[in-house]
Symmetry: C2
Subunit: 569 residues, 2 copies
């Protein structure tokens, strides 16, 4: 388990500071990430990589010549927020556009996608590169649904080399599409990892068993088998990858044998001894293999094997020199140019005071958000456990952090004289910014949409509040695309919004209507929560990688009840 | 725990093969080790480093330009044998002499020392460098008793750079003495590691506790404290090192923050964040720090901090470029010279046939060794547990492997027509070669000394056999230096030898005399075994690092009983 931390919620940020201090000759810290201390050539395409923390060397360890220009670090196992990604991307941009590279997970897809839109709106050519190498997470015919695991390494390395070579954006993106398509991984888990401050691992593998098709966020595998000797384990890792050898391919492969954290180097070398023979028997020619730790999952025990089917172009970029804190290849000379980097900072929006009636309502809104934050802090571990049954176990953490940040932002907005609408919108922004992950992004757009309906002029009526709930629902569906029955927060949100609007339309007071809506929402969430554990293991992993079933319905219903119980204030 | 292996006894050798295959562009495998694929300049001083396996990147990961010329790998947590070290040193030698570098542990001291003697007898200028950085293992006034832990990294790096720079042997050894004197480490343990194939860890740390002053072989710490926040942990690691700041030193330090295996990168970066501030507050200037995994202990949870007090000379060698599989610094250009290395192989000694009477006695000796090997295989786990209470837990493994190899060598010698003396001597050589560690070296010299007394001409008499036992005892004391009361195998050996000689002198048959001697030996071993657990934690670690109390008395008495029970054959 994770033993070294101060306050768990500071873990990722403190680790980022320590990483930058330890590698001050190579990287420069910017808010929520790092850029090269010696930036690449002006006008080059920049590669920004990132995702949740807890995976080092992914992603900070990849920042350097011939690899990534910058990395953005979310909280542990949680996507960085849109604002964080946007800020680091601006710092990394050298004038030739920026590629945002990440593993294909729901929260990352949302936040990196939103950051790219924001960059494009500012005139920067921003592109998306979602790595999809994990063959256990979806079939070869559903390539775009696959998760990203240690395939991040060859994909980002090769894309970084192409950008370093001076290719323009379209040419680098063509390389990116080719190498992502050519990269496949399969992994196994021997034991789970434990988040900082948590007393229990996200999942466990029974003694003497091995989980097949692991994820890198503590997701359980797709099945278990009895533990086997190293030689058989090597075959188990390799066979699913050989099955995807492209027709007519000449057999040149880049290979990564990756330890997840607790499976140590000598164990990997034992596996590699067997794999060299098996790869040769399969007619493959291994080009500059890497055996070690490249994408970890805290102290998880397990390993994964990655192959990239090379052609002349990809082989050239794979062999090209690189010099990053955790990845060096070939002959490299330290650049003498240490041009200063201007760190991107986000200017705070000016707050326009609301009407006295809206300010008064805003104080109530801020108090309600405080109650929600307190309840979510209490429920953090329980929500994490529910989420871990089918997802990556970060839901409780994200909700607790997001709501705490929202409560602080709401109080600050109250002090600044904001009306109810602005208070709710700024709370939503803070929630998304601090929670990261899928839920953070969804709660952020929901509260902002709700706040825009409330406005800052009038005292919100029951009707306005019910309309705001409807707007929040629409924003979530627009961004997340989930439907009722997908076992997400939408399952609990839809009955809440419908009952609230129906009851208000029938003339009930807000208190009565809200209580009825919260009760219906809770019933729906309970039904979903009972299904999640079974669905977690039964459904294809692909369905979990985008809009995966999580504890979102449970936490939404909890928030609804907490607000209902405190509406009389 | 260690999960990936085939047969546990093959773990280290298979890992070596896999390491060499994964790094074929950088290293060339030789029996039991690796040398640089592109050897250093002819005439340069060669640096050979090594010790037990299970510590990667120590020691194989250090082989490369600007660092080590070669590494020798023993079994897990067990010293490589004298013959292995000698063979790799010969392969590494470039004509300028060879430095044998290792951490200061009893088995390594014996085997590297014996290898150096053998090299010098062959005309090679061989020197010894025992790293003694662990401040928890002995006081500053007993520097030579300290163990070697992650101080291996700066010491070997700086010595390697001095050798690469072309200094002659005396000049490199002067640098070695200075850097070893200037290097201090302190470590903590959160949880123990588990040897391949074992079901239980070598030690455990209670939940919520931290072991202070860990070793890197699963030795428990010198005390435990309640687990603390990262900031306090940083202070705990640093304070014992600051206390040894040399008078008048200007404060330049090389720093290594080392993870033991399960304590992951982000945790180390969190610690480093705090350490940077504390180092600055102490007036120290950190020069090119290293934060990561450099000397591991399988999947042990814990970390250590190492400081090397630099002067201009040491700083220059610390900053010099290096290019090894697990350690790269500065600008490096891959050498194009890939001159082939002639791997050293050991020629087998020719066997001169013994007399028929001695051959007949030799068959009995070989059969007895077979019984001993079977009994030690059965007792392996139990002996490991006893050893782990005060030592490094490798005793059962070493005895099982050594005796099995001895039994095979004895059978081969029987087939080749050897007499009893040669059979026993070759069995001793095989035992030492395969067991590694302290016990292996001691059993090797003991059986060889005993065999020399028996000779190959006469049928051994009870008197000759008793004299042989006396010679074995003298050889052990000469090599190991332990006395009765040190809680080593000498405690059981001395009463055995005395009673055997007394009874034979009094006219008893060999069977009666041996049985009495074995019984007395067992009583002594039992008394020692009861003391070991208490001594393990109570005695200063320094006393355990050389001739540490182990399960050696228990296993010796077991062997004596097994031989006694089968003497009638």
């Amino acid at each position: 388990m994770t033993k070294v931390f101060d306050r768990p919620e500071q873990f990722a940020e403190t680790a980022l500071k320590g990483f930058c201090a330890a590698n001050a000759d190579r990287v420069t810290m910017v808010p929520h990430g790092a850029v090269r201390a010696a930036p690449g050539a002006r006008g080059k395409v920049a590669l920004l990589v990132g995702g949740g923390s807890g995976h080092y060397p992914a992603f900070l360890g990849y920042v350097g010549t011939g690899f990534a220009d910058a990395a953005v670090a979310g909280d542990v196992f949680a996507s960085p927020s849109t604002a964080w990604i946007h800020g680091v991307a601006k710092a990394a941009h050298r004038g030739g556009g920026v590629i945002l590279g990440f593993g294909n997970y729901a929260g990352d897809v949302l936040n990196f996608g939103a950051a790219a839109e924001r960059l494009r709106a500012e005139g920067i050519d921003a592109r998306i590169l979602a790595v999809t190498d994990d063959v256990a997470s979806a079939g070869a015919d559903e390539r775009s649904k696959r998760r990203g695991v240690a395939g991040d390494v060859p994909v980002f390395k090769i894309v970084g080399a192409a950008a370093e070579a001076g290719l323009d954006m379209d040419a680098v993106m063509a390389v990116a599409a080719k190498v992502n398509e050519a990269t496949v991984s399969f992994g196994v888990a021997f034991d789970g990892c434990t988040l900082p401050g948590q007393g229990r691992p996200l999942f466990t593998v029974d003694t003497g068993q091995v989980g097949m098709g692991l994820g890198i966020h503590g997701e359980p595998g797709i099945s278990t088998q009895a533990m086997m000797p190293a030689m058989d384990l090597a075959r188990t890792l390799l066979e699913p990858l050989l099955a995807e050898r492209p027709a007519g391919h000449d057999g040149r492969v880049a290979v990564i044998l990756n330890g997840l954290g607790r499976t140590k180097y000598e164990e990997l070398f034992v596996l590699w001894h067997h794999l060299t023979g098996m790869l040769a028997d399969a007619g493959l020619t291994v080009v500059e293999p890497e055996v070690g730790e490249f994408v970890t999952s805290l102290d998880m025990a397990g390993c994964s094997l990655t192959l990239t089917w090379l052609d002349d172009e990809l082989e050239g970029y794979w062999r090209a020199p690189a010099d990053a804190p955790a990845f060096r290849k070939g002959s490299v000379t330290r650049p003498l140019d240490t041009e200063a980097v201007e760190a991107g900072t986000e200017a705070l929006a000016e707050i326009v005071p609301g009407s006295p009636a809206s300010q008064e309502a805003g104080r109530r809104v801020a108090a309600l958000i405080g109650h929600v934050a307190a309840a979510l802090a209490d429920a953090e571990e329980e929500l994490g456990r529910i989420d871990a049954q089918a997802g990556d176990g970060d839901h409780g953490q994200g909700m607790a952090r997001g709501s705490a940040a929202a409560a602080v932002a709401a109080e600050q907005a109250v002090i600044a004289g904001a009306g109810a609408g602005t208070i709710l919108s700024l709370a939503g922004d803070a929630w998304a910014d601090r929670a990261g992950g899928t839920s953070g992004a969804l709660w952020g757009v929901a509260l902002r949409a709700w706040g825009q309906v409330l406005g800052d002029a009038e005292k919100p009526s029951a009707q306005t509040i019910a309309q705001g709930a409807q707007a929040a629902h629409e924003a979530i569906v627009r961004l997340g695309g989930a439907q009722v029955g997908d076992k997400t927060l939408v399952d609990a949100l839809v009955p809440f919004v419908r009952v609230l609007n129906d009851q208000v339309a029938a003339g009930e007071t807000l208190g009565v209507a809200w209580a009825a809506a919260a009760a219906r929402s809770t019933e729906a969430a309970d039904a979903t929560a009972q299904l999640v554990p079974r669905l977690g293991r039964a459904r294809p992993l692909a369905e979990r990688s985008l809009g995966h079933p999580d504890a979102g319905a449970v936490s939404l219903a909890l928030c609804a009840r907490v607000v209902g119980a405190n509406l009389s204030e």
